[in-house]
Symmetry: C2
Subunit: 203 residues, 2 copies
Amino acid sequence: MSKKMDPRVIRTRQLLRDALVELIDEQGYEKITVQDITQRATLNRATFYLHYRDKLDLLYQSSEETLHELVNSIHPTFEEKKDFDLLPNYEQPHETFMHLFEQIGLNSKLYKVYLTEKNIPYFSGGLKDIIIDFVSSGIQFMEPNDQKLTVPREMAVRFYAAAFLEVIVWWLENDMPYTPKFMATQLMRITIKGPYIDNPFQQ
Amino acid sequence: MSKKMDPRVIRTRQLLRDALVELIDEQGYEKITVQDITQRATLNRATFYLHYRDKLDLLYQSSEETLHELVNSIHPTFEEKKDFDLLPNYEQPHETFMHLFEQIGLNSKLYKVYLTEKNIPYFSGGLKDIIIDFVSSGIQFMEPNDQKLTVPREMAVRFYAAAFLEVIVWWLENDMPYTPKFMATQLMRITIKGPYIDNPFQQ
DNA sequence: TATATTAACGACACGGTGTCGATAATACAA
DNA sequence: TTGTATTATCGACACCGTGTCGTTAATATA
């Protein structure tokens, strides 16, 4: 779709999106104005309204595009390995987890700002929804009925989805101190084995 | 400290805080203005500025007060049972968890709005910090050194803190379908046993 | 180089903000 | 019950960011 677009439009929108990320990083989302954004992007303020309705719309469209890219980069892996093998190979990093961390790492500036700055609408919720889908599919594959779940299905899905998202945020806050492969492995371990090794109460 | 205050001040501030919760629930945080809040509270707009700097300040002070009440209601239990017994009695509900759910249930309207509405500053982060302290203490007691942890300590703390918070949010979103005792028990089970019962890979 | 598309620019009314001074209402203590 | 201090009310003000004009300038592409 971007092939049909005037290159100036692409340039303008990218300038605005980059300016938004920079300014959120510097001042926080709440404080910045459309004036600030266009000034940073070296564009006239009226130009802004040719492309976006307001500040929130710019953030929303930027978030949507980024998250769509993420889903598209993960989906192939997701389809190939229909069995998920979430449990059996729990000492191996899960491939979807790895792709998740890798893709985020490729765009870490934006992810870090959008996920760690306070009061950013949409983005965290959107990523959480993506992770909820992934977790839900995984648990659905492992346990199609609810008999062998320790807690209600919905509760478990939300529990692990939020936990995974938080680990991603932690990873970004600390400037990605571990590799995607290591992170994916760790998530598998803590999910399956819990917090403690050799826990006698575990089974 | 509230004993020294003029009852009119207490009344005014309570009116403003209640109006804030109502309006966030009805329109969302972003949309509402100081005008809206004072109109709903049947106060003059200038009166607002005698008590709060702006909309964010009102939200912040309201959040702080609510979270302080929560910590105070939990802290006694926290001190009494220094051993935490997080693991040994994992089929029993953890007392601090129970008090957490009970206290939230007593003020559920505010908690539900502040935790489930989008783009509410401060509150979620503040509650998460409280839970992080709790989780961190629990893990510190169980495993003072990092030898027997399945993943880096900081990662585990954030993992479970975010998971617990999400379950609280889930509970509120669904209008508290289970008792605090049941919720506390479920959190213990999923934390210690993981998602699946009789999981052969668990030990 | 011609043409169509888009950006730049200046200006405008609008609405919410934060503050002010003067007046009215109210709690509490004498 | 009355006096006093505190607080709320009220109307008004300048300020700032917003969203939208119409006109002019710049630029990509054929």
